[in-house]
Every structure is written in structure tokens, then in C-alpha cells.
């Protein structure tokens, strides 16, 4: 019980202090919508392309919303030494990092619903398999957050966190099938797509929205889950190695 009081306190503090701040609104919501607008105009198609674009927009909203804030706030707390206060709390490192990341995951999930709400005014969403969309959004939220965590524990400065995040995020826009089908990519680039976790989340969303997944959905879920576990374990390992000197 005591450990969960600490868990909720850390999560609540992060939500309050970091997630509803202007940089998040710009990175997590405005930026993905601007990208989508760009693709929408470039394609020259009408409202019928909304459903095709939706999986990409949802994913990019989660990805940018979670990674931008987590990587920066953890680095910032490390610099200001307030992270030490958390490390001194009588809770396990695993629970501490779960508390730090749960807020980001929730924020990512909320971000994903912004384009869904907008799309609801522009297209008929009744054909979407929501039972697949919801777990996919959560898993994409988790994997993006842990990617942000992995970045945060690999750098020391806030500006490094931003640079390093972009190094991962921007190639993902083009390589993970968000807006360009993986099969349309040159053959020698495709292996890169398959080592990126977001590819599997986007594939589930394509399957759920328009039944256009390229891999079996069970395999997508399995691989995405494995990425979540590996990134979390790697991040914990890095924290122990780099931060508890």
C-alpha cells in the first residue's frame, strides 16, 4: 500500500508539473496535426483518405507526445538533482520508473484520441475495430515512452535528449509505415523498418482501421510487447550502470 502511495504521488506530480505544459501541446498535438495536414494537402485526395491517414497520425501523436516530454523531464530532474530524492525513496527502482513512465503513457494515450475526435467529424469511424485500436494505442504509448526513457538514460544534458530523440523519431515517420507503406520502400531499407517497434503498432492500427495489416496481428502484438519489455529492462540496466555510480 505504502509503495502505491509513492507511485501515485510520483505519477501525479509528473502529470501536473510536466505534461500539461506548452511544449507538450506543441510537440504532442500541433506538430502531428501539422504533419498530417501536409500529407493531406500533398496527396490531393479528399476526405476519403482520412481513414488511411488516421493510424499514422495517432502513432505520431503518441510518439512525439511521450518521447519529447519524458526524455527532457528525466534529464532535467537529473540535472537539478531532484531525481536523487526519488532514488532515495524506499521503493524499488522498477516501481519508481513505472511511476515515472505511467504518466507519459497516459499522456500518449490521450494524445492519440485527439486525431480520432477530429476524424470523427470528417469520416465514418463505425467500421474501426476498437477492440484492436485500444490495446494497440496503449502498447504504442508504452513502447514510445520506454523509447523516451531509453533516450533519457543515455544522455546527460537536456539538449542531448532532444537531439537524440529526433534522431529516432524523424526516421520513424518514414520507415514505420505511418504514411508510406513499408512495401513501397526500397527493399534494402525495409529491414530497418522491421527493427523499429512502431512499425508493429502501426500495422495493428492499419489492420484495425482498414484491414490492411501486412503481418499477422498476433505477431504484431507479440513483437510490440517484447520491445516494451526489452526497452524497459535495458533502461533500468542503464540507470543502475550510469546513474548509481
Amino acid at each position: 500500500m505504502k509503495r502505491w502511495i509513492a507511485f501515485w504521488a510520483i505519477m501525479g506530480k509528473d502529470m501536473r508539473l510536466y505534461y500539461l505544459k506548452p511544449p507538450n501541446i506543441s510537440w504532442g498535438i500541433i506538430f502531428p496535426l501539422a504533419w498530417t495536414g501536409m500529407f493531406f494537402i500533398k496527396s490531393g485526395s479528399g476526405l476519403e483518405s482520412v481513414l488511411a491517414l488516421l493510424p499514422g497520425v495517432m502513432t505520431i501523436s503518441i510518439l512525439f507526445g511521450t518521447t519529447s516530454i519524458l526524455a527532457v523531464t528525466i534529464t532535467f530532474e537529473r540535472r537539478s538533482r531532484s531525481f536523487e530524492r526519488l532514488l532515495l525513496a524506499p521503493i524499488s527502482l522498477e516501481l519508481l520508473m513505472l511511476a515515472k513512465t505511467t504518466g507519459a503513457i497516459l499522456f500518449g494515450v490521450i494524445n492519440a484520441f485527439v486525431p480520432i475526435v477530429i476524424a470523427a467529424f470528417m469520416a465514418d469511424l463505425s467500421g474501426i475495430a476498437w477492440s484492436l485500436v485500444i490495446p494497440a494505442i496503449i502498447l504504442i504509448g508504452i513502447v514510445s515512452t520506454y523509447l523516451g526513457l531509453f533516450i533519457a538514460v543515455s544522455v546527460s544534458e537536456v539538449f542531448e535528449a532532444q537531439t537524440f530523440s529526433n534522431f529516432f523519431r524523424f526516421p520513424m515517420i518514414f520507415l514505420c509505415g505511418l504514411f508510406f507503406p513499408i512495401m513501397a520502400l526500397p527493399v534494402f531499407i525495409r529491414p530497418l523498418s522491421y527493427i523499429l517497434p512502431i512499425t508493429y503498432g502501426v500495422d495493428i492500427l492499419h489492420g484495425a482501421v482498414s484491414n490492411q495489416n501486412i503481418m499477422p496481428l498476433s505477431l504484431d502484438f507479440l513483437i510490440l510487447g517484447a520491445f516494451c519489455a526489452v526497452l524497459f529492462v535495458l533502461s533500468l540496466h542503464n540507470i543502475k550502470r550510469r546513474w548509481i555510480l
Binding site: 509513492a6 531532484s82 532514488l87 532515495l88
Partner: protein, 331 residues
């Protein structure tokens, strides 16, 4: 190390060694702190004081050695005793965006305190530290002294039986430092075990029961204050404020006054003797050599004298260096 803690020992450290890369920060130190004791850890900048606290509290990985806190073996699992420990670090590390009350409530929640309990405790501590009026002000807007006090309050929010204080009065104003010292003494009176690192030797002398001197990562002496002072108790010390460093007089003065131990520092001449010091001949000696004496005062031998004797480090220089690093403050 024994399986169970020695009777009375709440912190036991055996052969603690810690390196950062090539730098040996703490070199094979051993000590124990007894239950309810106020134990001082004295040394200059870079001596290994903060590293020792970091290792004991789990913020740094133990290189080698063994640690037991309240009978719990923390050698392999430094988090095992964290619920028993409170830490006031050498720099304030609360959240600048939260106000004083929120910061304390947050810290209390980290130790699993329920909402009502943590709010009551936060109010109590804000009152104790004289911060009630600033409770709703953001931590970022606090003065240095207020930040230090709130950081102290956060360290004891969960009423830990063991408290680690890392330079608690460095860089803060006189009034705040006095208040902090008073609170340390009160906590000690109520039975809290306090591990205090400081470079203010007079502070340690006033507060601690036992101290360890640490220099270059090694403990050079551990003893009760009374036992450390005992050999210098019978000595007479006279401090003369002089207009000259007296460096060129040193040899001649030593020859003229073989019964005294003389030490010249800029603006000061220190005379130490087993017998009473006759001031007249000394002043005459100096004035005949055009050195003006503006003040002469008798001083009781202090822990500072013992520290200088044992470590060879000039305590005044150590204090100035630390204050410079902390950005001012005074005692």
C-alpha cells in the same frame, strides 16, 4: 562483519572503498555510529564525506567493504534500509515548481504516508522551521536559507530514526544556521541518530558526541570529542593580532622564547604553552621590531586545534574554501 549489529551500533561500516574511475574517493574506511548518537564526519572539500553518505544511502554503488544499517545488511541491497533513513543533501534538491507545502507533502508520499498524515506533518514542519508564511510560495522563489530549511524539513518528514546531514549549515545566513543547529540538537535529544558531515569544526564540537576526521578518503582519527580535547585541555593559547606577518621574526622569536610554541600567520601570532604565557615580554619583543600589537586574547584549546594537529590542515583555510564553493554564507 557480524551477522547482527553490535549492541548499540546502528550504522556499521567495514572497509568501505569507493572509486570513480581512476579517482579513489574513499579508501578502506571503517567506523560505527551508535544508536541515538550525533556523529560528526569532518574533513576538507573532496575528502570523501559526501561519497560516504552517498554509498551509505544507496545513491552510489559500494566499491568494496560491508555496510549494516540497523542490523540490515545493505552491502548488496542498498535500498533495504532506505525507509529508516532521512537525508539532507548538501544542495537543495526539491522541485522549484512546487510550493513549500506541496514539496513536503510530495516527499512524505514517497515514504507512503497517507494524505491526512502527510499534510499535518508538513504543516507542523513548516511551523517548526518558521516557513508557514512561505508555505504557498513556489520553492524557486525561496531565499537560500529558506531553501536549506525546507530541504531539511523534507529530510525528516517521515521521522526517520537515522538522519544523514551533509553540510547542513553551509552557505546560509547566521540566523538560519543557528535555527538548523537547534533543530539538530532537538532531534538528537529525541533519540534520532545523526550522521553529520561538516567543515565547521566549532559546529561539530558544539553538537557532536563523537567525530571522525577524514582526509583524502581515509579516516585519520575517530574519537569522542571529550577524549580528543583532553590532551590539549591543559594548554594555554594566546592569539596576538599583529601588523606584520612576522615571517622574518619567526626564527628569532623561537630562539628568544623557547618555552613557547609559536606560529605566525598573516596578521596573527599564536602562542601555545604548557605554562602561563607572559604577555609583556612578547609585546616588547614585537614592538622593538616595529610590529604593532592591536589585540591579545586568550583562547581555550578547541577541536580545531586537535584537527590541525591530527590532519595538518589549516581549519580556517578549509572553512574559507568551502564557503567560497557554497557561494558565501557565514556562521
Amino acid at each position: 562483519m557480524a551477522d547482527k549489529a553490535d549492541k548499540g551500533a546502528i550504522i556499521q561500516v567495514a572497509g568501505l572503498t569507493k572509486s570513480y574511475g581512476e579517482v579513489l574517493a574513499v579508501d578502506n574506511i571503517s567506523f560505527q555510529v551508535n544508536r541515538g548518537e550525533l556523529f560528526g564526519f569532518l574533513g576538507p572539500n573532496g575528502a570523501g564525506k559526501t561519497t560516504t553518505i552517498n554509498v551509505l544511502t544507496g545513491l552510489a554503488r559500494l566499491g568494496s567493504g560491508a555496510i549494516q544499517i540497523s542490523g540490515i545488511d545493505c552491502t548488496r541491497n542498498p535500498k533495504a534500509a532506505q525507509h529508516l533513513v532521512g537525508i539532507v543533501p548538501d544542495e537543495s534538491n526539491l522541485y522549484p515548481e512546487l510550493n513549500g507545502f506541496e514539496n513536503l507533502c510530495f516527499c512524505a508520499a514517497l515514504y507512503g504516508m497517507p494524505k491526512n498524515e502527510r499534510q499535518a506533518r508538513a504543516r507542523e514542519l513548516l511551523d517548526t522551521f518558521g516557513l508557514t508564511d512561505a508555505a504557498n510560495r513556489k520553492f524557486a522563489g525561496y531565499s537560500k536559507g529558506m531553501k536549506r530549511k525546507l530541504t531539511f524539513a523534507a529530510g525528516i518528514i517521515h521521522q526517520p530514526p537515522i538522519l544523514f546531514l551533509d553540510e547542513p549549515t553551509t552557505g546560509i545566513d547566521v540566523a538560519s544556521a543557528r535555527q538548523v543547529r537547534q533543530i539538530i540538537a532537538d532531534l538528537h535529544r529525541k533519540g534520532t541518530t545523526v550522521f553529520l558531515t561538516t567543515h565547521y569544526i566549532e559546529e561539530a564540537e558544539r553538537l557532536c558526541e563523537r567525530v571522525a576526521f577524514i582526509v583524502n578518503g581515509r579516516i585519520v582519527r575517530t574519537d569522542r570529542i571529550a577524549d580528543l580535547l583532553q590532551p590539549v585541555q591543559g594548554k594555554n593559547v594566546l592569539i596576538l593580532s599583529v601588523s606584520d606577518s612576522g615571517g622574518n621574526l619567526s626564527e628569532e622569536a623561537t630562539r628568544c622564547f623557547p618555552q613557547y610554541q609559536l606560529q605566525f600567520t598573516p596578521g596573527q601570532m599564536r602562542v601555545e604553552s604548557e605554562e602561563t604565557v607572559s604577555i609583556g615580554p612578547l609585546i616588547r619583543f614585537l614592538e622593538e621590531r616595529a610590529v604593532q600589537v592591536s589585540e591579545a586574547r586568550r583562547r581555550h584549546p578547541s577541536l580545531e586545534d586537535v584537527f590541525v594537529q591530527v590532519t595538518g590542515i589549516e581549519a580556517g583555510l578549509m572553512r574559507k574554501e568551502k564557503e567560497k564553493a557554497a557561494g558565501g554564507g557565514n556562521q
